[in-house]
Subunit: 339 residues, 3 copies
């Protein structure tokens, strides 16, 4: 297989970028510190600006503001990271997945698999489930009853759709993800837990991505919903009846408890938690490992937690945290005494 080649000028034209310097062939992509003279690098995060002078990259994608600092060929982009993403995609070699169902697959007679779909080894597809045009169901996936996998979806491997999970188009699900398991509904009844039946499903909009080992429970009544273009990283937990707005992205290990509603274009940091039955409006940013304990009605950035300290200093602050109400009262008293 020959690696593809593109002229820098060709990339400029295709993606609406401005070429600065001599035209050059590009045979691949790399980081500023690792790219060769035949590769294209990018500068998006200012943290790496110092690497610009020394880079061996033949072409660099960067902001017009950074263009002066670049000696060789450059492609100027308002958003270098997005431009780089599209260029890099030209060099990605994805394994071909032929249409057809592997002989080891077990399909319920009432299920439907489109002829154009690819279903890999050791897959099971349950009653009344439907796999649409061009979908890829990788090895070891389990699809339960009453599920729908839309056109062009890809379940990479070993993903599980438990029951009543409906994926839109081009949804990408990574290994170990579990969609549609029972929500955590339990009611204490005379000293013993009674299980609350989870009668709803999960609805995932077009172009969503679900990370490895992420779990999305099905609704108790009604559905758990991800609107279109929601991006979930790995190991995220989404409780029953949660609704996540379009274009919201959540980083690894974050979690949303049952019946919370998250708006559109939100960013949830890694390890952050959102309590149940809350509402978060559009364009909210939650920083890493913060806990959202009340609804948020104004766009903006929100945080909780304390800064990292050396353990010895931290112990002192932590001990004082316990006395914080007293400390505050003493300053009040002081104020009053001085009045």
């Amino acid at each position: 297989m020959t690696a593809p080649v593109f002229a820098a000028s060709e990339l400029a034209q295709r993606f609406g970028l401005e070429l600065q310097g001599d035209d050059r062939p590009v045979r691949g992509v790399g980081t500023l510190s690792g790219a060769t003279a035949e590769q294209l690098g990018f500068l998006a995060n200012p943290r790496y600006r110092g690497q610009l002078a020394a880079t061996a990259a033949g072409v660099v994608v960067l902001r017009p503001d950074d263009a002066d600092a670049r000696d060789g060929t450059a492609l100027l982009a308002r958003d270098p990271y997005a431009a780089f993403a599209k260029i890099a995609a030209l060099f990605e070699r994805k394994p071909a997945r032929m249409a057809g169902i592997h002989p080891t697959v077990v399909v319920d007679p009432s299920a439907y698999v489109d002829l154009s779909a690819h279903v890999g080894p050791h897959v099971a597809i349950g009653a009344r489930s439907r796999i649409a045009t061009g979908a890829i169901i990788g090895p070891g996936c389990i699809i339960g009853e009453d599920c729908e996998v839309g056109d062009g979806c890809e379940l990479v491997a070993r993903a599980t759709l438990v029951t009543r999970v409906r994926l839109g188009k081009r949804v990408l699900v990574h290994p170990g993800a579990v969609l549609g398991a029972d929500g955590f509904g339990i009611a204490m009844d005379h000293g013993h837990w009674t299980k609350v039946p989870q009668l709803g499903g999960v609805v995932v909009g077009d172009d969503c991505e679900i990370g490895a080992n992420t779990t999305i429970d099905r609704g108790a009544l009604g559905d758990t919903v991800l609107e279109q273009d929601v991006r979930l990283d790995n190991q995220i937990q989404v409780g029953h009846n949660v609704r996540i707005g379009a274009h919201t992205a959540m980083a690894g290990c974050s979690a949303v408890a049952g019946s919370a509603t998250i708006g559109r274009h939100c960013l949830v940091g890694g390890g952050a938690g959102i309590l149940g039955h809350l509402e978060i409006c559009d364009r909210v940013v939650i920083t890493a490992m913060s806990l959202v304990t009340h609804s948020i009605r104004e766009p903006g950035e929100y945080s909780s937690g304390t800064p990292l300290m050396d353990n010895r200093s931290w112990r002192k602050s932590a001990a004082r945290y316990k006395q914080l109400d007293d400390i505050a009262r003493r300053t009040r008293t002081g104020d009053k005494d001085q009045e």
Copy 2:
């Protein structure tokens, strides 16, 4: 398949509730905001009391205290959520699982599978393991050596029992859960880690529920133990030799480090952490994302962390947290000066 119908009066009698208003047929359940005139809704969380006036639900289960606020038919319950759970179960349609072993299943000759058990596709059952009466082993489950699956257990799909895992009766295990993996036992020896063999197992009591992608390690010496009716949500980590008391419930993403003991009837909030070798007594509540760093000997509610703030204000508080010992000393000095 015809949907079931129950008269409100029939539900009242069956579950010991008081009927208020006209008798009506109930053909399903829903939320207050979504239920139709043929469905039953419920009011348990006071947060939703405002929806009572406008609900279209034909019947509402609620507390006697809320009865005055309800115009139409109501069923009065001391605990509306538990009553609702039992009523909703009447309307749950679970897929039938026929007894028998799917032809793709690989069973070790020394294993035993009861004739009444259902074993789905792509399952493997290892040496000396036993699957008891009426158990359901869903597709893709892996059961290793020396495991026991008790009467009426259900492993929904793709669950793994690694080795020496013994489930009581009616244990429900969700997809992706891993029980009986090696505990994290390592000892530093001349600059290189030495693995500490994990010779114990996992014992899970009757009526426990284990969430999707939850992990419970087997003991190093002796067993990791869940007593009866323990309810674990998704993505929980339980370390080796932990003991969790009966009727304790843990929410998603919480974690318990090795050799900790948790009492009975405890509630552990989402994302909370419990350090190793601690003891927590009965009836303790840990709020979400708190870290338990010492044993707890008194029932009650415990917390750590800081409140959610807008990021700008939070940065100020966080910076001051580092100076907290100095701040406290200054207030003391002030006190002394004023003495």
Copy 3:
């Protein structure tokens, strides 16, 4: 199968320990509180010193400093836990895994599986992947394209190597682990997320251990790297292009965001988080549930968070945390007034 027996004197000689008291046969290992007269216990954690007087263990491994407190036979070790680990390994009975490929396994014609390897049921091995001498691939594992599993590796069960994952020698991977899934690379482009291709792989050094349901994403450009002897507990998330130094151990539910670099011989506590693009030097300890928000250049112990409190007291401190800048200013004012 007969259980093995070793004389205490034999263990002393084999592992370079000092025998104190009479020689005795040892037929197994246990905890101080559970071991019998034919078993060996150990005292490493001072928390359990109180159990020494009452133990029924025939032999106890302990530090020379603790020797006086032991009446019966003892083995003196500078590091009792490491000594115990090696002794316990003598009593571990691991299931034999015969060389060969189970008939249910699906192997791509371009893949290579060494004749000495064991490949269990329901495994799939993708194009151009290689399984080396003596490797064990347990039931339900999925190995994608272009992966390498080194000599003596063990994938216990249901582990997934997605693509371009190269394991060194003797790497142990627990069930549910996912290595080599797409890193979380997305770029906002005109209101819609564009996926950044993840063109790199994952490189795991010799003697690493990867816990159950842990995820390690492959690099965007270049590789995600674990150096040798890195030990990861369960449910850990490692982002793309992270590098973790040799002999570093991370406890359950911790997480490292993309492009962070962690040094050698570090210890990361349970649930701790490390933000992306940071550097942590060698021999750093991060305590449980701390968040690392900046690079760390000095060895030592680091922490964030607040102590556990009863909820009522905590509410007061938490409310005051919001006012912390004002409180601090008031003490300054006080100082100034008093100057």
